[in-house]
Amino acid sequence: MAFKVRMQIEGSTATIRLEGELDGRSAPELNELVVRAADQRVERLVLLLEELSYMSSAGIRSLVFAHQKMPEEAEILLVGTQPDVAETIRLTGFDRSIVMRETLEA
């Protein structure tokens, strides 16, 4: 499935919506947006993952990259992560460093 990613920055929150498959081919696109968000000194990075059907270790590297690029006190929130993608994140232990929620409002 084709990968699509787009970002909106409102106030101190950057929201990135991902669709399709996050792997070695598509991860650089996400990293570029993370760098832009970090340059804007946002305090909150929200990743909307309802439409993300696959994540390889390249995607995990992007999450670690985001964690390191964002200010130390910034929050990284993953919303609507599909079960297999969530399990992939858990296997690497990275779920302890981010917040995962079913919906944005929860």
């Binding site: 081919r25 270790s57 079960p83 297999d84 690497t92």
Partner: protein
């Protein structure tokens, strides 16, 4: 039996696309349920990416994939001509012990590759690395736990 040969051109270009397509078709033909098919594809993606990046290290090379159903299991064999490397020897524990803020970015691939397949075998045969990934099938042809696992997983 299903087989394909991928040529790595040394440019570092990702082979994730053709690997994913091949494994998807193999899983469908074998009747593997959605969730084990996801993990098989992830494992194949990680093993082949590791071969390209760390095995061939920017050199041209070949990655052979061959898969099929043998008795009650789906097998996927991945072979390459890079220097001998047994993925089972990779220990992720030291990396996981470090907080993400200071972790190295890489090193998760093999952990994911070996974490969810039913069986992983490695042999060095005739100068080639041979990685074999195995997913067991039930007698009905569907992977064990597949339907329940999908229900339990929710959306």
């Amino acid at each position: 039996m299903f087989a394909c040969r991928l040529k790595v051109d040394g440019s570092g270009a990702s082979i994730a696309g053709p690997v994913g397509d091949f494994v998807g078709a193999l899983a469908e033909r074998a009747g593997l349920a959605t969730r084990p098919a996801y993990w098989l594809r992830l494992a194949a993606d990680e093993i082949t990416t590791n071969i390209v990046q760390h095995g061939y290290r920017g050199r041209d090379g070949v990655v052979d994939l061959e898969g099929g159903v043998d008795a009650d299991a789906l097998y996927l064999r991945i072979e390459d001509d890079a220097p001998a490397f047994d993925p089972r020897a990779y220990d992720p524990a030291p990396r996981l012990a470090v907080p993400p803020s200071v972790r190295e970015l890489g090193g998760y691939g093999l952990m994911l590759a070996l974490g969810k397949v039913d069986e992983f075998r490695y042999q060095y045969v005739g100068g080639r690395n041979r990685n074999t990934l195995i997913m067991r099938l039930t007698t009905s042809g569907e992977a064990h736990g597949g339907v329940d696992a999908e229900r339990a997983g929710g959306v």
